[in-house]
């Protein structure tokens, strides 16, 4: 279910571990998904994205997995570092069948804390 207010899911890992952050999306018609990292007092920073015609995409130390059957998205961070500590948001872009101007619908966010 969705959390409201300050009760964000949290993930606490040790430096060097792999992290997996999960996200459930709601719109089966969404055709594009994106992960952002947000550090305290800053704007969302692009990490990685994926289109609905793919189920996996890899970047540098990050991998996004998309499971359209269960409407689930995950972000895997390899060898997590203290600098990875932040709030991570998934977002989806719907496809209404016509022109899409790109409105993103954000998930609730997950707080990742990496301990040295």
């Amino acid at each position: 279910g969705e959390s409201v207010g300050l009760h964000l899911p949290t993930l606490s890992v040790q430096e060097g571990d792999n992290s997996i952050i999960n996200c459930a999306y709601s719109n089966s018609a969404s055709d594009y998904f994106i992960w952002y990292k947000q550090e305290s007092g800053k704007g969302p920073q692009f990490i990685i994205d994926i289109r609905s015609n793919m189920d996996k995409r890899q970047g540098q130390r990050v991998t996004v997995l998309l499971n359209k059957t269960v409407k689930h998205l995950s972000l895997q961070i390899a060898a997590t570092q203290p600098g990875d500590s932040a709030v991570y948001f998934c977002a989806e872009k719907g496809n209404a069948g016509g022109t899409s101007y790109g409105k993103l619908t954000f998930g609730q966010g997950t707080i990742l804390t990496v301990h040295p």
């Binding site: 952002y36 704007g43 920073q45 101007y101 790109g102 993103l104």
Partner: protein, 113 residues
Amino acid sequence: EPEVTQTPSHQVTQMGQEVILRCVPISNHLYFYWYRQILGQKVEFLVSFYNNEISEKSEIFDDQFSVERPDGSNFTLKIRSTKLEDSAMYFCASKGSYTDTQYFGPGTRLTVL
């Protein structure tokens, strides 16, 4: 690397006053957005802007809000008569053609007293 910039970083205003938040999108981008984030909550879409007109807006974006691209580089969000509940971080974003990746600015923290 090109980035979206926003000014001011923090704006404090009295309830009922007008505020204008400013953004300079990435220079070759054609699609512009405003989002807001109330403290501790998720980012919410306000409005999208393309070809000098609003292309989509949310229920939050009522008659008190307006957007403008006054020149070739700036993109502004105006709130005509601020309310306490308008207090939030306001983010500008932009994207180019043939891509869905939106790049966000650092935000303006609006505090309405």
